[in-house]
């Protein structure tokens, strides 16, 4: 891995312009947790690393009228401890706190976590359930992508090769819950990840979003199953029926953390627990 140039632009648009100029030779590095491991394993061999580490004000955490705005360079460990994030949505702060270990969270950025599009991740499922969207800076223009349309497949996102994720915007949820199920070790990557956001009118569920990740290629919602809750009381039977829909409809994958069969069962268990948590949290 010799002769790699390390460039440090100070704005996102400068970074995007560098990507446009250098084409396939250039690779973005944010926290670098994934990029360094890819370099060591020789999965990538860029001649230029475009580091986002010196971008000015890229790591803000700010409450606005339309929700929480988080700069792409915010570190997961800072997000997990942020008073603003904790008050805005405790389940979101919790999600950041269960990623890997404290060293990973000190280095990993939120933008890097989402852009890596690793299926065995935590923030993507919670943020999709929260109906988050991302701001993206291209060489020429900016655009916004709903997280629902962001993850396209294994390690693949809707970002174009010159685009950089700059900001994540999260509308305020009424209630939310996140469940990470690990099957090998407590601090490991998720076998199943379940994020839920819900709104209630006394006992009646007005709105429900459930995203399941880590067990499937990209985090997924099943709108027909979510719709079963609308206008209804979340009885134990209804919770079980929705969990069953997720379990039967999703097509889980097999890897070291569990077989497809096992994951199907665990999806049922953890969708149910997450729904019980939002129902009982008042």
């Amino acid at each position: 891995m010799n002769q790699i140039k390390f460039l440090e632009p100070t704005t996102f648009s400068e970074a995007s312009t560098l990507l446009a100029e250098r084409g396939d030779d250039a690779k973005v590095i944010a926290g670098g947790v994934s990029v360094t491991l890819m370099l060591q394993q020789k999965l990538i061999s860029p001649s230029i690393l475009v580091s986002l580490g010196e971008i000015v004000n890229g790591d803000f955490i700010r409450l606005e009228s339309d929700g929480l705005h988080i700069g792409a360079l915010a570190k997961l460990h800072d997000l997990e401890r942020s008073q603003i994030v904790r008050e805005f949505c405790p389940a979101l702060a919790h999600t950041f706190s269960v990623v890997g270990n404290v060293r990973v969270r000190n280095q990993a950025t939120l933008g890097g976590n989402l852009s890596a599009a690793d299926y065995a991740a935590d923030p993507p499922s919670m943020l999709m359930a929260l109906d988050a969207r991302v701001q993206v800076q291209g060489a020429e223009k900016k655009r916004e992508i709903p997280l629902d349309e962001f993850f396209l497949g294994f390690y693949t996102t809707a970002l174009e090769s010159t685009e950089i994720l700059t900001e994540v915007i999260i509308p305020k949820p009424a209630r939310a819950a996140y469940f990470k199920y690990t099957s090998i070790s407590a601090e490991g990557r998720p076998c199943v990840a379940v994020g839920v956001a819900a709104d209630f009118d006394s006992d009646l569920c007005k709105d429900l979003r459930i995203a399941v990740g880590a067990a499937v290629e990209t985090p997924q919602r099943i709108e027909s199953a979510e719709a079963m809750a609308r206008g209804q009381t979340l009885t134990d039977e209804l919770v079980a029926a929705i969990a069953n829909e997720y379990s039967l409809t999703l097509d889980p994958l097999t890897d070291v953390r569990g077989s497809a069969w096992y994951r199907r069962e665990m999806i049922r268990v953890f969708v149910q627990r997450a729904l019980e948590e939002v129902r009982n949290d008042r």
């Binding site: 590095i29 670098g32 360094t36 491991l37 690393l49 580091s51 270990n101 404290v102 060293r103 000190n106």
Partner: protein, 149 residues
């Protein structure tokens, strides 16, 4: 490229190498160990501006201008750092391969949270693995250190 390690400035050749390799091979600071090489074991932990990082997946270029602390940088005038002393007093190791990482992570924990509960200690240290299974003594050492500091 200049790295600030344990209070001294070092001129190093970086070329997109991992900090772990530079510390061990160029600066002969071999207290920082390599275990897994992929971020999971904590043997390679160093502090960067006081926070724990895995030096096995950190490029030297990413930490220029920052203050890096390795296990060699902790003692003062021949006296061990209180966390080192607590690990020694409680016999919190067998082979000690994991100890530099545990000591540095404990220092960072106590900086963030001077009197952590047992659960908070377990959680913070969960990414540091001890192949010899000295966990109970490590827990005692961290508690002893938190009382000393």
């Amino acid at each position: 490229m200049i790295l600030n390690v344990n209070g001294s400035r070092h001129e190093v050749k970086a070329e997109a190498r991992m900090l772990l390799d530079i510390l061990r091979e160029d600066l002969n600071l071999v207290g920082t160990k390599e275990g897994c090489g992929v971020g999971m074991c904590g043997a390679c932990t160093v502090l960067v501006d006081g926070k724990p990082f895995s030096s096995c997946h950190l490029l030297a270029e990413q930490v220029t201008g920052k203050e890096i602390t390795t296990i060699e940088g902790l003692s003062r005038d021949g006296n061990l750092h209180p966390v080192q002393q607590a690990f020694l007093d409680k016999g919190a190791f067998q082979c000690a391969y994991c100890t530099p990482g545990f000591v540095l992570t404990t220092i960072a924990l106590l900086n963030e949270n001077p009197s952590p509960s047992d659960n908070e200690i377990r959680e913070y240290l969960s990414g540091n693995l001890c192949r010899c299974g000295s966990y109970q003594n490590i827990l005692q050492a961290v508690k002893a250190a938190s009382e000393m500091i």
